[in-house]
Assembly symmetry: C4
Homo-oligomer: 254 residues x 4
């Protein structure tokens, strides 16, 4: 096996496809959005990306069959709008691996003719989001249209995100810019402590407006209700205090 | 020395050999099984595999002679059934090393004509196994026969093993599938806290049925009795409680 | 992207340029000096250096535009004296990366014709510097003139810096010597706990004398006053004691 | 600079030279012996070995001159007996680095015609050695003469050293054996908590017998007295108890 090994599963012709990256990260926001798109629109697997920088690991499905860890590209037909959606269970394990892997991802996007990219993620606020006001922060390459993003509800704030954007999402912008691929990062506000389907929904709403498609949210809403029950129980255990849950209670990410 | 360096010690012709992997892991189950096979059937060393991904270390034998850390393949004639048994003292030290090393191992297995592989290990339950009911969980590549495995006593359970299979055993399946080698992973249930000869025996019994050989268990049973004494003393020290021993008391693995 | 990727932004002809390295380190002394030179003399960006050894990260500017982590060379015309000033947000992440990156930096310096180098940094004293007596310690390659450095106020002390010089600054001397580039390291004394504009000023004063230029200090003085307020508050919180602040209180570096 | 870069300083013809390795390790025993030989016999520097696997670091001498971290080979004429002595301030930083570096060291030894090697080190006992009874444990490649070593005072004990031999010393034997270089490891017993000149002297005495030379011990004895004062003070602070000093009190190694 090569250091990075791209398996061609299908090679459909896509029309003006948009590359959507949703690997695991803060609140699993990007991953939730990407998986929701693949599931709701019954996406077709087109590429598997294996790399020796991922953990040496297989998952086991319900029939006992082992599946080697990989990232996957799906073609999603979002009501006539072609999306190339990337998701998976891991980021790279090293600095160098992040650069190499994102380069491979961008190569695939380019091969399919994507001329626009969205990197999806969460931005941690450190406290539970109240009143369902999930803002979506943005960052972009210079050749994207800030006004178009703002019109779709994306906020740009000075000095945010404070630590920059780390991981594959950051590099989709950083390396995308260097190869002339207009890219934007959409980051849903989230506590940073929990898998956050509501933040994912906020990001999806922005994406709908930007790319002019519609998707059913009921699955995400269901998952959001489950998470609210979890949060409710935690708050009860803490005597009703609405503060930040302790680290131990909040190990739900994953 | 190359990154991976395979020393040819002997080159016997094997008949329909089966590749058995038993490197260190949970409860040292796989290693116990592999070493038991080599000892009971007086296996012949055929390959040493050195790699710069192993610790820079020599072991010293009773005559004071230093031996550079390596993994070893033995040819085991299990009463007419040819086995190619891999064991050693280390897994790889890096993600990339795991992939490279497992690829080298599968190359050796292929070179000897193995058309079937078993990766052996333990699956941690977090508590001591009671009443000697050591189940053996399975995972497999798509082209292996689930029914045959189940008939030999292997259980397939939904969502188990929960975290997938990590390390060389996982990759024997994951990389094996990619090169068309039918492989199964046999995982003996074990507490995860102790070297577990009983779990090893359970795995061996499955292997006997599957590969139609018979092996004497008395050495494993002896080691099991020794371990029971250890567990007994620990429980005494805890006032007879049958619960999970503390981490400090149970550092027997290794 | 290559492992190290040098982007040519401009290619001015420089006259007897001097290479100045100011990457992050103890008290951010070197970085403060380098950035001050670039800002005061309105330096021109000439090279961006990207490497897969930097974190996979973009920073986001006030217009929401993402910028891939890099180190930058600026041409600074310090009143007729050409300087080639290197600064950035990161050191390398690995031993090997430090060697490779410093080699790339020295290649750029050589390409511009630099025949002299200064590596700037701080040397930690472990306590707050009193009475504004910020000494500047020196180290050098054999072919630099110790007397000239001493005449400009640089001190050479036996067994200091005790732990040698680590990181890119150390290698500018170590690798510089091996390729025949006369280099000196100027290390401002600093507590090691705080970003230290006063120590940076002390280093700048030495550099002015050595290279015969003059720069306005008011920005550094302003930053120094801000830091003094921080220190004042910390000392108040400690009941006026002038001792070493605790680790928790002093996490201002960065 | 290459990954490993060997600088030729001098190229004397040596007669039946013996390779002596003394890099830092337990109790700095090996390093003390190697440095003692170089100093007492006024050894000549013949090779510097640089590697990107060493820390990116320079040391600074009393004249302020920076020296890039390296390992050094000296030719030592021990009263007619030619030794090729390797010492330095660092082991490698990675598994792979250890293998590569030791290979480079053995290449140099071979180039000078060494047909015998001694790797020097300490073996930790976990308690202070009483009554100056510093045993020297041995390990060897198969083609060295155990009896000769034992006659010189080396002890071979079953299951010792328990954890094998780690680092460059281990690989001098492990890789030495693979290339046909007879090698022995001499390990002075030492607490493992302190730089131990007495253990170094014990190793040196063995080496004298084996290689038929004589060296003055007064410098080592002086350093041993200094260390005894340190130990005495620690024991006082502990109320005269002769037990194992605490970790905090004993960070003298290095």
């Amino acid at each position: 096996m090569d250091h990075i090994d791209i398996e061609v599963v299908a090679d459909p012709d896509l029309t003006d496809p948009v590359f959507i990256e949703g690997l695991p990260g803060v609140g699993h926001v990007g991953k939730l959005v990407a998986e929701h798109l693949v599931e709701e629109f019954d996406g077709d697997l087109v590429r598997r990306v294996y790399t020796t920088d991922f953990p040496p690991q297989v998952t086991v499905d319900d029939d006992g069959v082992a599946d080697l860890t990989h990232a996957a590209f799906h073609h999603v037909d979002a009501g006539g709008r072609d999306l190339l959606v990337l998701t998976g269970d891991h980021q790279a394990a090293s600095n160098e691996g992040h650069y190499e892997l994102t380069t491979a991802f961008l190569d695939v996007a380019e091969e399919f003719g994507c001329e626009r990219a969205f990197a999806l993620g969460g931005v941690p606020t450190g406290e539970l989001i109240e009143d369902d006001e999930y803002d979506v922060l943005g960052a972009r390459t210079e050749d994207t249209d800030r006004e178009e993003l703002e019109a779709a509800g994306v906020e740009f704030r000075e000095n945010e995100p404070a630590g920059g954007i780390v991981g594959v999402s950051g590099l989709v912008l950083g390396l995308g810019a260097r190869r002339g691929l207009p890219a934007a990062c959409l980051m849903g506000e989230t506590s940073g402590y929990l898998v956050d389907p509501k933040s994912a929904q906020a990001v999806l709403e922005v994406l709908q407006t930007l790319l002019d498609f519609e998707v059913d949210f009921s699955d995400l809403e269901e998952r959001a209700e489950e998470m609210e029950e979890v949060v409710g129980k935690i708050q009860e255990m803490q005597g009703g205090g609405g503060g930040m849950p302790s680290d131990d209670e909040l190990r739900y990410i994953g």
